[in-house]
């Protein structure tokens, strides 16, 4: 029977969301292709995770070894290479996460198996694979054909497929197999986790946020945004490029590599809306976006949009909000 592998991702005792998202998409693909959905779980003392995965997949391949305790693309790839050669799955789904990005390309090259990355959709029909992915920071989509092969590897964008438990638990069979890793992996070693420094501003606690992106152009323009935020009673947050440039500290960053926020108000200034940022703020109650580009992806997530240079909007907006508040105080 044709198999579809989903490589489970976990960290610090938690199965990561992308795993359930892939299992949900994997189940849909498996039903269509009459294939068996197999979750592959590598780690150490992860038996409990295996039981959770068995609610979603027909089979859970469980590989436990102290060498697999923390993610190591080298060790994980060695095990996966063997399992893929043994089981010959038609599809291998891996999260397009920090882990997946480190492992999938090298694994594909080692196996000489075609790979598509950061996919937001995929269709598998009579042995052919078609991918949907984004380019230019989400400004365009592409449909891509994959070179015909017996096995394909696909990395799947996080938070793209809504995770859903099957109507009835899959009651999957947990099959434990040895890692067959004989030697210590010395080429590449996990040392430790590095946690963000404590303290700083907690943007997740703010009721109102004014988010600033690349459109701000220069660090000298940040005070203008801070003034607007202060007038509204909001906290300043930002997208990744602003932190990369050192214009605001990393505790202000919204997105996959920063914080996920759900304020009552999110004003996005000069933020194009790449998915990494959107993922961190799309749950906000009210989103108002200002961007010069009418096709900026942020406008698909905003409630209100303004197609204009943020420098033309911010000063009058600050004044109008100030006047409005002053009037309310007088009454």
């Amino acid at each position: 029977m044709t198999k579809i592998f989903v490589i489970a991702e976990h960290r610090q005792g938690q199965v990561r969301d992308v795993t359930f998202e892939m299992l949900t998409k994997g189940r849909e693909l498996a039903e269509k292709a009459n294939a068996e959905l197999v979750a592959v779980l590598m780690g150490k003392n992860v038996g409990e995770h295996a039981k959770t995965l068995a609610e979603y997949a027909k089979t859970v391949l469980l590989i436990q070894d102290s060498k697999l305790e923390n993610f190591n693309s080298e060790a994980y790839s060695q095990v996966l290479t063997r399992l893929i050669n043994e089981h010959n799955p038609a599809l291998v789904l891996i999260g397009h996460t920090s882990y997946g990005v480190d492992m999938a390309p090298r694994l594909a090259a080692a196996l000489n198996v075609p790979l598509g990355t950061d996919c937001i959709d995929l269709a598998y029909e009579s042995g052919a694979l078609t991918l949907t992915r984004q380019m230019f920071g989400g400004k365009v989509n592409v449909k891509a054909a994959v070179r015909k092969a017996e096995t394909y590897i696909v990395t799947v964008r996080q938070a793209t497929f809504a995770p859903q438990k099957p109507a009835a638990p899959a009651n999957g069979q947990i099959i434990e197999t040895p890692s067959k890793l004989t030697e210590e992996i010395t080429e590449k070693r996990f040392i430790q986790y590095v946690f963000p420094p404590p303290g700083g501003v907690d943007i997740t606690a703010a009721e109102k946020l004014v988010g600033v992106g690349r459109g701000i152009k220069d660090v000298t323009n940040i005070p203008m945004v801070e003034e607007l935020a202060k007038t509204i009673g909001a906290v300043v947050s930002c997208s990744r490029p602003i932190v990369d440039k050192g214009w605001l500290p990393s505790d202000r960053q919204v997105g996959t590599s920063g914080k996920t926020v759900k304020p009552k108000l999110y004003v996005a200034l000069g933020i194009s809306g790449a998915f990494q940022h959107v993922l961190g703020m799309k749950g906000s109650d009210l989103i108002i976006a200002v961007n010069k580009d009418p096709n900026a992806p942020i406008f698909s997530f905003a409630d209100y949009g303004v197609v204009e240079d943020l420098f033309k909007i911010v000063p009058p907006l600050k004044n109008k909000v100030y006047e409005s508040k002053a009037q309310q105080t007088c009454k």
Partner: protein, 278 residues
């Protein structure tokens, strides 16, 4: 014993390193309005400004900083058309010693896998201790070339590197995970590191630097110089092929506020007031 270890490590730190940086010449699209061209498979390049890929910019800076600290060479290499020279010139002006451009019409349509094969064919004959690449390119966002190249060269790799520290024959990196978390990973050299943005502050290029860089040679190589065949590169040598490019379907569209900036400011203020947010 301990002294010996320290000596080895000091010796290593004094050692000059040969570093190769893989770069890509890409359009700046973050703030541009994109149009799809008549083929329906690519963007219309008219009016777009091209520059070094943002991630590669950080990779190059990191390489130059290592060279400045402990000596060695930095070689910038790209697969691209003639106009990639401006990106290579920028690399040379920033401190790269050599530049190589791999150009051939038969490279057109190459995906990350094919590009990795092209780079490999040249890099395998060059001396190096470290290869730095950007973590991904801002155009296709595949994030595959680095690790595939590392596999072809049989050297270890680390992706999404936010910090690196050279040790005795090893390099210790901090790589970015989700939600502000990082992990420390150590690899043996020679190694390939794919660099994440924010690892450093890329320097501005001085006029002097650009002038000097104009005199440096850019070595141009074609398919014939790589030892690859035309089936290894381009669409034929790729895993994936773009069939159609389109504007992402809009599931929800913002209600656009129109008028003069003052009028828009009033409208936003009214919305905030109505929602009790001010």
């Amino acid at each position: 014993m301990k002294t010996t270890v320290n000596e080895v490590s000091i010796t290593w730190r004094d050692k000059r390193l040969d570093i190769i940086v893989c770069v890509k010449h890409v359009p700046e699209t973050a703030e541009a309005e994109l149009k799809i061209d008549s083929t329906g498979k690519a963007i219309d390049r008219t009016g777009l400004v091209f520059d070094i890929n943002e991630w590669d910019d950080y990779a190059l800076e990191e390489a130059v900083r290592i060279k400045e600290k402990q000596g060695g060479t930095v070689t910038a290499i790209t697969v691209g058309a003639d106009d990639s020279d401006s990106t290579l010139r920028k690399c040379l002006a920033r401190g790269a010693d050599k530049a190589i451009r791999l150009t051939d019409p038969r490279f057109d349509g190459s995906d990350g896998y094919a590009v990795a094969k092209i780079l490999h064919s040249v890099i395998r004959n060059l001396p190096f201790n470290l290869i730095l690449t950007g973590m991904q390119a801002g155009d296709d966002g595949n994030a595959v070339v680095g690790p595939i190249l590392a596999e072809m060269l049989k050297i270890p790799h680390v992706t999404m590197v936010k910090k690196l520290e050279l040790g005795a024959g090893t390099v210790r990196t901090n790589r970015e995970l989700e939600g502000g978390l990082e992990e420390q990973v150590e690899v043996k050299m020679p190694a390939l590191l794919s660099i994440q943005t924010g690892i450093n502050e890329p320097r501005y290029v001085s006029i002097m630097g650009i002038r000097k860089a104009m005199q440096k040679e850019i070595k141009v190589m074609t398919l014939a110089d790589t030892g690859l065949t035309e089936n290894d590169v381009g669409v034929a040598g790729s895993w994936i092929r773009i069939e159609k490019m389109y504007v992402p379907p809009v599931e929800k569209q913002a209600e656009f506020l129109k008028g003069t900036p003052d009028e828009i400011a009033v409208k936003i203020t009214e919305i905030l007031k109505a929602k009790g947010l001010i």
